[in-house]
Chain length 222, copies 2
DNA sequence: TTAAGAGTGTCACAAATGTTACACTTTCAG
DNA sequence: CTGAAAGTGTAACATTTGTGACACTCTTAA
């Protein structure tokens, strides 16, 4: 029934039969959601473990002025808010909204705790997920602490560059990127234009061609 | 021997005898360090669990231009880099340096894993610590995503204000604050000056008096 | 096929912050 | 007590980014 869970980090190392047995053993439910639906608001208590089965979600912070900072996109079969289920302040750090129709598996905290303690491998996986989450957030801070937009662009491109290639494929609009960078959209466009003038990159529709890798690295290197 | 550990989050709920038994049961060592010593560099692999016993540490990110962003200060008996011991990328996210002389308890990862699995309470505590760490980092992102220095100051003061009081005691210099905020020191001083002109606050040596709480909150509220 | 919506490039101007410099004060070790 | 080091207030100026506006392109659903 939960074929997709086999490749989920939480159940890594378990086979289908074991996964189904574990899940059947605890209370759970399936929740369907529609595109653009808001599934949770920042500050809301996290009382259930959620594993995305189908569709796409995003987490974004909204500040008091209404500006949004997109923190991450979530694809199946990832857990949602994994690092916020336990710990001293278990509330959603972001608004969670749907980028498409989809569905997710829901397990209440009490039952999830029981699931964790019933299998050492799952517990170990969960520990890795939460650690990975902290590491992701830490990298996010590194990224946000870059001062200039140019640095952010350079860092983003170099991190999404597959070794050997000089082309970065974009899965987001400039608008989406601007939100991730925490900058205004026209400011991003302007800086992109400047970097094109400098023959650093060529920014096309859905991909960016690196024209001068060394100079691009030098932006971060000095 | 490790009296201070009784109040450590990792050993919460255990008594002295149990703690000593657990620790004696695994390989461990004590490491002394001197003020200003750098204990680990960003990017270095985390191979040991470290619990601060005495002294004070700080973690700071250094960007390529040499600017530093102080992420946190660590006091005993906290764990160091707890969320970076497991997970996909177990490397230090910050430079770890000493703010005073001190010493810490060191347990190698393998032995620490053994310690975790030998007591359910400790494992549970550790899960809470790592979750708490992720939550801390998440709040840090919230903080860094404030656009203006004024917002950052207001947020910082309101968060350090004890209920009922109108005075915030500072345990850091303006220079230290500027590093935490990720802004230039004179810029911080200028903004403080502006807020004093506006009768919002009175900034004294080691403490800040809130003169107009409502207006201060309004900075974040609109 | 076409109209609507989303995304993009660009501009002029405003606002915020960084940079560098210097004088002054405070702290603290010797 | 004193000198050095660290911290603070402030200024002029340079840079960077945000804002709001508009025209244009692309995509897509009716």
């Amino acid at each position: 029934m939960f074929e997709v869970l086999k490749s989920s980090p939480l159940f890594s190392g378990l086979d289908n039969i074991e996964i189904n047995a574990l899940i059947d053993n605890v209370l759970h439910q399936i929740r369907n959601f529609a595109n653009k639906e808001v599934l949770a608001y920042s500050g809301e208590k996290v009382e259930r473990a959620m594993i995305l089965l189908e569709g796409k979600l995003q987490g974004e912070m909204i500040d008091f002025a209404g500006n949004s900072l997109k923190i991450e996109e979530i694809d199946p079969p990832q857990m949602v808010a994994a690092a916020f289920l336990y710990g001293p302040q278990s509330v959603f750090p972001v608004n969670l909204s749907a980028l498409s129709d989809g569905k997710m598996l829901i397990i209440f905290k009490k039952d999830f705790t029981q699931l964790l303690s019933s299998d050492h491998r799952v517990l170990n996986n969960y520990l890795n997920i939460v650690s990975g989450k902290a590491q992701f957030l830490s990298r996010k801070i590194t990224f946000l602490s870059f001062k200039t937009i140019k640095e952010k662009i350079a860092y983003y491109l170099l991190n999404h560059l597959k070794t050997g290639s000089l082309v970065v494929t974009l899965y987001q609009s400039q608008k989406g990127l601007a939100e991730m960078f925490g900058v205004a959209r026209p400011s991003l466009a302007r800086t992109i234009g400047e970097m094109e003038d400098e023959q650093l990159i060529r920014w096309e529709r859905n991909q960016v061609v690196i024209l001068n890798l060394k100079l691009l690295q030098a932006i971060l290197g000095k």
